[in-house]
Every structure is written in C-alpha cells, then in structure tokens.
Amino acid sequence: MNNLCADIGYRSINKHGEQLCGDHVEVIEGENNDIIMVLADGLGSGVKANILSTLTAKIISTMMSKGLTVEDCVATVAATLPVCSVREVAYSTFTIICIRNNQQAEIIQYDNPPVILLRDGHNVEIPFTEMMIDGKKITRSRIDLRENDTFIAMSDGCIYAGLGRDMNFGWERKDIISYMEVFFEVGFTAKTLNTILLDECMKLYGGQPGDDTTACTIRIRAREPMNMLLGPPANRDDDNRMMALFFSKEGKHIVCGGTTSTLAARYLGKPLVPLLEFPDPDIPPIAKLEGVDLVTEGVVTINKVLVYARDYLAGNESYVEWSYKQDGASRIARLLFEEATDINFYVGKAVNPAHQNPDLPINFNIKMRLVSELSECLTKMGKRIKVSYF
C-alpha cells in the first residue's frame, strides 16, 4: 500500500442533434482497492450506440472487478451485444484502465485512440503487447505508477474534432498531447484537465460536434487529508473533546461558523481576528486564527460551496469563479475539491437559538442538510468522506 490515489474526471459531449450519447464511461471499485475505468464507444450514434456502449462498459467493468480475464470479458460482450439490423454487426470499441492497488496500471485497448500518458509533464508512449481475441486485435500494457502520472483516454470524437472544418485531418493525437502538456505543470485536477480538453474539442467542432466525444482523465496523486469543523457540539461539555479530536488529525484544518471559531480560538488560546474584507459581496469575511488554515462563517458560506460542488459535478462552469477568488466559499472549494482526497467532517449539533427565526434561511435543519448534501457531492468527486457528529 502506498500513499497514492487516482483522481478521475470524465465527460461526454453528444453528437450535434443527438439526445443520447453513443459513448459510455464506467468507473467502479473492485477487490484489493482496484479501480476499473472502461470507456466504450458504440457503433454509430444515438440510441443504438448508447445501448452498445453502455452494455459493453457495464459488462467489462463488472467482470474485471470480480477478477475475470479480459478474454472472458470480450467473449461475453461479443455473445451479448444485440446485432445491428442495418450493419449486421455488434460492435463497440473500448479502453480499459485498471489501477491495481495504486501501484500499477493495466491498460487494455480495442480500437479507440491510444491512451495518452503524461509523465513529468511529457508524453510517454506506453509499450504494449498485441493479442487476438475472437478475431479482434487487442493491445495490453502494464506500467508501474508514479506520482503525477496523467492518463487520458478518449473516444475517436476527440481526434476528429475540427476535421474538414478548421483542420484538414482533425485534431490529431499528437496535437492533443502538445495541447495538454502545457497544462500539466499547473496541477489541475483530473476533472479540470478533462474539461479543458473537451472544451477545446467543442471549439474545434464549432459548437456542433460531428461525433460523440468523450474523454476520461486519470491523475495519480498523493493522498491529502483535510479536516473541517462546523458548529459547536450539542452538549457544551463536549467542547474540549471535539476540539482535541479535530486538532489532533493530520492535514489541513478548516473551521466554519462564528461560534465554532470562537470555541476553536479559546481551545488554542489564540486571538480570532475577523477580516473586514468582502471579495465577494454575498459571502461573509474570513478570519485569521493561528493554528487553523482557514476560518470562515458557517451556513451562508457552506451554502455557496454546495452550489459550486453541484456545478463541479455538472458542467464545471463556475470553476472560473472559485478557482481564483479570495472569499471564504471559493477558498473552501479549492481546498475540498482540488487539494483534499480524504475529508473528515466534525459537525456539532448545537442549535443556535438566534438562527431559529423563520425570516432567516439559516436554521438548524438547513445546516444538517448542507452537510449531508455536500458530503454526497464530495463522494461523487471520488473523495473519501467521514462525518462525525457531536
């Protein structure tokens, strides 16, 4: 077991005019901490392609996660896929990336553009062996992982972007490599790198993709624990116990809430200094407290973080706001979405009588709902979440 983990981001863009996508990405956890990603591209587009790619991705990921061989997976897929009445074939290309115990990647590819590996910011061609299964030429690679290795799997919609429009031969794989190498050093998350790639594809297609376009980015990174304290404990006698547990944990510490930060300041014996600055007029100011990485107000700030989290999981459009702004919500968003891999929430269940006012949108139930919805979003981002109530 090492200190690495896989940060995974993927998205599909539908062919112009199609309601369904003919590409499908499936990511599941298998035995022994294995992570299996399958990107399948079904023949044609629309509903048929959607069924073919979904079946392929689901069958392969489920079987691989149970330790079956790739030969078995391919045979099952070939025997299961419905045959297209027009073309009389059943067909879906696929890319499998299996991260074994965060130590080794096994990559199995059939007819999709070859997976790109950026290592130390530069393209590395992955060595592979070929095998024939059911008359299909399938390549297989095994590569030991290093921190910051970034894998990019694509459907052919990516390399055809701009074909016959802005570019004679589309956006070739080598062009994608040199484009993505530029962004490597910045330390973007997998989701952001993936968004950057697909946005460029969309641009080259002039907003009207000629094919379903999908990319999945996997970035190997070190685990980063993060701790977040929200709300005073229901029983005042638990103050010290809660603070002691919170501050003893490894990683960065975020304290949210006025009363909560006052308790933290008392526990640490340091002055709490709120800053009277409003980088975002809707978000209350942050405060400085020695020994804590970030102190913010509670419910109003977390509510905004939740808005950002939902968007991150959807189109990731508000990235342009929270990625640089200095208000409390943007700072929390950067720490939780980008930096952290393991997040411990310490949630106090004290009811603030002053907040139980129907005119104010900040009562106790809302606080509890915010915590559960935020941890749900963070789980979907692939973070490991632990919530303790006091």
Binding site: G257, G258, T259, S261, T262, L272, V273, P274, L275, L276, F278, P281, P284, P285, A287, E297, G298, V299, V300, N352, A354, H355, N357, L360, P361, I362
Partner: protein
C-alpha cells in the same frame, strides 16, 4: 474609539456588509481615520436584534438605514 461590527451569519444576512462599507465611508469623510478603529467580530450572541455593533463596548442595533443617524449621534458626538 473602538467600533466593532458583527459579521456572523445572521448579521451578514441583515446587511452588515453595507453597514461596514457605509461606516468606512463616513469615517473617511469626517477625517476620523486615526481616531476610530473599525473591526469585525463573529457572533455576539445578539442575533435577534442585529445588526450588532459595539462602540467602546456599548452594544447598538443597527440596520443599513440607520447607520448615518448612529454615526452622527454616537460617533461624532464622542469625537
């Protein structure tokens, strides 16, 4: 003079940012920058009557509407 404004959740929602900004403006206009120390605090435990502001320890309840009156009656009077 110590002028402390609550920027906790409840007071924030009632408009403490506008109060902070208006007070800054008024202090500058009256040229009292070196006499009045403006600072923020989290919850003063007086949320129902917010926006909570203390002037040299004495508690006042303000709103964005009555900031000017408070400044004239209390701050300028002491200046």
């Amino acid at each position: 003079m110590e002028l402390v404004i609550c920027i906790g959740s409840s007071c924030h929602l009632k408009g403490s940012r506008q109060v902070v900004e208006r007070l800054r403006q008024l202090i500058e206009e009256a040229n009292l920058m070196d006499k009045v120390a403006l600072s923020g605090t989290f919850c003063m435990g007086n949320c129902q009557k917010g926006i909570s502001v203390t002037l040299d320890g004495k508690l006042f309840s303000l709103s964005p509407e009555n900031v000017d009156g408070f400044f004239e009656d209390e701050v300028l009077a002491r200046g």
